[in-house]
Symmetry: C2
Subunit: 216 residues, 2 copies
């Protein structure tokens, strides 16, 4: 029986090693340009072996993304812990998520794909379930922040926390999308905008919209 347990440990370790290789490659080239052959080379395995640990490329990417966002959650919690009010906590959730995506831009790309994928996605695999659950946790922090703000008076009391948490998170996605690609977008759009300030403007706007009392 001890053999079975060791085998299971080795299996988990190998899976992690594959994810290590994929994560490093992904950080450089992104999920789209990630090549399964390259992952196999980097992990010193044959390509066929990858498919013993992951159903397909999507699930491998989901595994990478799930680990990344899993590492983010403690950071988010630490950053929220110092909040002076519920409204401040909500700000910190948004700021933390933005900082996380700046450090892991490829992860954000994966999130966009995941959100847009519609029915075409192999849900149900372990990696995807893990990813989904962690996204839910992040969202929950926004809900808690709003509820706290309604209790301490920093957030309007005539709104429902959960739908507004989703609104906060959704709108932040769009703003982050612009922020991550601001160099190329500012070249493309025939309008001279400083895209550096968009995130800050948005967080301020959200705070103003949520705020229980008037505030400059």
């Amino acid at each position: 029986m001890a053999v079975a347990e060791r085998r299971e440990r080795e299996r988990v370790a190998r899976r992690e090693a594959i994810l290590d290789a994929a994560e490093e490659l992904t950080a450089n080239v992104g999920y789209e340009a990630l090549r399964m052959d390259a992952v196999a080379d980097a992990a010193e395995l044959s390509k066929g072996t990858l498919y013993l640990y992951f159903q397909n490329k999507q699930e491998l990417c989901a595994g990478v993304a799930a680990r990344l966002i899993g590492d983010f959650i403690p950071l988010l919690e630490a950053h929220v812990a110092d909040a002076r009010s519920g409204l401040d906590a909500a700000r910190r959730v948004l700021e933390s998520y933005c900082e996380f995506t700046r450090e892991n831009p490829q992860h954000f790309r994966f999130a966009l794909t995941w959100l847009s994928a519609g029915e075409k996605l192999d849900d149900g695999t372990e990696a995807f379930r893990s990813y989904q659950q962690r996204v839910g946790e992040v969202l929950q922090h926004a809900v808690v922040a709003i509820e706290r703000g309604q209790q301490d008076g920093s957030v309007r009391t005539d709104i429902e926390p959960l739908p507004h948490a989703v609104q906060l998170w959704s709108s932040m996605l769009g703003v982050i999308l612009i922020d991550l690609n601001k160099e190329s977008i500012s070249q493309r759009i025939p309008v001279p905008v400083d895209l550096d300030q968009v995130v800050d403007l948005h967080i301020d706007a959200m705070a103003r919209a949520l705020g229980g009392k008037e505030q400059a």
Copy 2:
């Protein structure tokens, strides 16, 4: 010389015919799943011919997107024309864009790809320049709405119109992304949210944040 002119007309017409075929296919399956062979079949041409009219698949998609957003601009202008105030005009810009993406969800997917593409994109082709210019026009309508609101008192005067127009537009992107995929997302996220109201909540929040005077 008359021959050269007729040839040019025929060339434009054929290009439009290719775009017609691609647009119809795209509406069904999206840009990702669009197959160049299928476009060629639908246009009753060989695949090689497509590449005489478009540099690559990306540019063909950009051509479809540029036509779609070109058709949208008059609708946007009509909808904004009835606005009672600058703030109302800003709302209408957001509402119109949302309605447009609901009718042309695949176009929105293209926009996301375009925004995320970074350097990997063959800019400079005619289709892309046309697309970019029209996106700029839509953005300009948001700028004008904010300026009008600052003059009629419906929008705060301590903000810069252009950066805030970008903030409005960016955040709307994220909200629309969720709205377009709400069915699959609500199944995936381990939280029971009614995603139907997110767009309305967001537009209200934006109006509140922009508003010159306090309003419920």
